[in-house]
């Protein structure tokens, strides 16, 4: 496989992409898992499908449409979330379905031969372009900057939002910002592993990492490393068994999760 990597630029791109998405995915996945916003991130991923459809209909880059839809949804959901958890949960479900439906509708309305949607549903890290890599790099930069600049505030907010408010931290702004950053990350992940498989990369590495880490920093770092391992392992599986890369990556992540929990069980039983 190493020879092939040196030979083919699409494989090099795929590896770069894996590296880049690991950074933002580790951080955002940790926030999502700790805040118990798995449902919300699933909603955002599916809403982005509406944007992809709109992109095709209007003849603009589908990923741009996906970004717009995802960010708008993230903001909408965080405003609703201020009112009540239940309300935002229901709204997420409705956005989720409506986003997918809009995507299907827009694509049906697009004149000419329908585009192949499979790569958005199941992702294809082997076809990422230089533009995709640049977008991933920009998103990494935003996420890393925010996390390093506001690490202590982020940590206290995620640990105890009420106390953060008592300290006069602007928790509404922070919540909105986190949702927007999550939306950006999710769209880039959609490109790599697809809408249906996004959840695997957002949740499994962070969940495993939180078994290991003793501070927010270490959990984020470990989640990033586990994401990278999943991507590399998945790519290797995909290459050697000739199976679709998105599915291989998601399965690899799920296997790491299962493995970690089995080890945890065994250790608490016999350790």
């Amino acid at each position: 496989m190493l020879r092939a990597v040196l030979q083919y630029s699409f494989l090099q791109n795929a590896l770069f992409c894996a590296l880049l998405i690991s950074a933002c995915c580790g951080i955002v996945g940790t926030v999502i898992v700790l805040k118990k916003q798995v449902m919300l991130s699933g909603g955002i991923a599916h809403i982005s499908f509406g944007g992809i459809g709109l992109g095709y209909l209007l003849g603009i880059e589908p990923l741009i449409g996906a970004f717009l839809f995802a960010v708008a949804a993230a903001l909408g959901i965080s405003i609703l979330g201020e009112r009540s958890q239940q309300e935002s949960d229901v709204a997420t479900g409705i956005f989720w379905a409506a986003g997918m439906a809009l995507g299907v509708l827009f694509i049906a309305l697009t004149p000419g031969y329908p585009p192949d949607m499979a790569s958005y549903l199941f992702g294809d890290i082997l076809t990422v372009t230089k533009t995709d890599l640049l977008l991933a790099l920009i998103i990494d930069f935003i996420v890393l900057f925010l996390v390093t600049a506001y690490y202590n505030y982020l940590s206290v907010y995620l640990f105890d939002a009420e106390f953060a408010a008592v300290l006069k931290v602007n928790t509404k702004l922070l919540a909105g910002l986190l949702n927007v950053v999550a939306a950006l990350t999710i769209v880039i992940l959609v490109r790599a592993v697809g809408i249906i498989l996004v959840m695997a990369l957002l949740t499994a590495p962070a969940a495993v990492a939180s078994l290991i880490g003793s501070s927010l920093k270490t959990v984020m770092l470990a989640a990033g490393v586990i994401t990278l391992l999943s991507c590399l392992g998945g790519l290797w599986l995909s290459y050697s068994l000739q199976i679709p890369s998105g599915a291989a990556i998601a399965l690899f992540a799920a296997a790491i999760y299962a493995g970690a929990h089995i080890i945890k069980r065994l250790r608490s039983q016999y350790g």
Binding site: F163, S214, V219
Partner: protein, 256 residues
Amino acid sequence: MTQALELKNVTVKYNRTCALSAVNLSAAENDFLAVIGPNGGGKSTLLKTILGIVTPVQGEIKIFGKNNSQYKEPIGYVPQFSSFRRAFPITVEDVVLSGRLKGGGRPFRRYEKNDYRISGDIMDKLQITQLRRKPVVRLSGGQLQKVLLARALAAEPRLLLLDEPTASLDSEAKNRIYEILKQINQHTTIILVTHDLAAISSYIKNIACLNKKLYYHGEPEISEDIIHKTFGCPVDLIAHGVPHRVLRSHGGDATC
């Protein structure tokens, strides 16, 4: 002289439930005010309203002469029911240090020597230094309570609000905390919600009886009659030192 705390005609409602009705209350600088009242009497609501977590439908709240939304200095707060994520990856020391943060969100705010020194001193005083590196998931209820108190004290606030901070502590720890409170009371205004008036009666300077309405505010020598009005049942609070733990919620005559 400006008061440390001043509430004028404060009314708080949750949807339809009226939690506080036209409460007027003030505390001088370095006061030690105990707030007592039955379950559901609005004690926690009072503290949350002062902090700005709950917004009143009517009335104004001043902290050291400033409107409470304008007051940007830290206020120490130990909640009755903690709102934090128990399974969060954070150590005791980092929780205490977080009390040193201030709003405004200065980017790249790192904890400095001074922050470590102050939190270290407080952990020493509360005797939780040996727990420093422990993740909060692995603390007992009482240890956790001390950590939350340490976090509140780490801010070195001029105003400290405590909502039953000693509820799950053993009597030795309780007494130690009261001694610490007495000490910081020399330069800190303390408002303490408690059901355990007997234990604290020698430390406090004033008392407030709250059951939607404020029934009494003044020196900690209250008549049977006031207790009866506040709780809706006679409670021998101070004489026998047996606090009335299971207090019947009393609707009172208060209306919003």
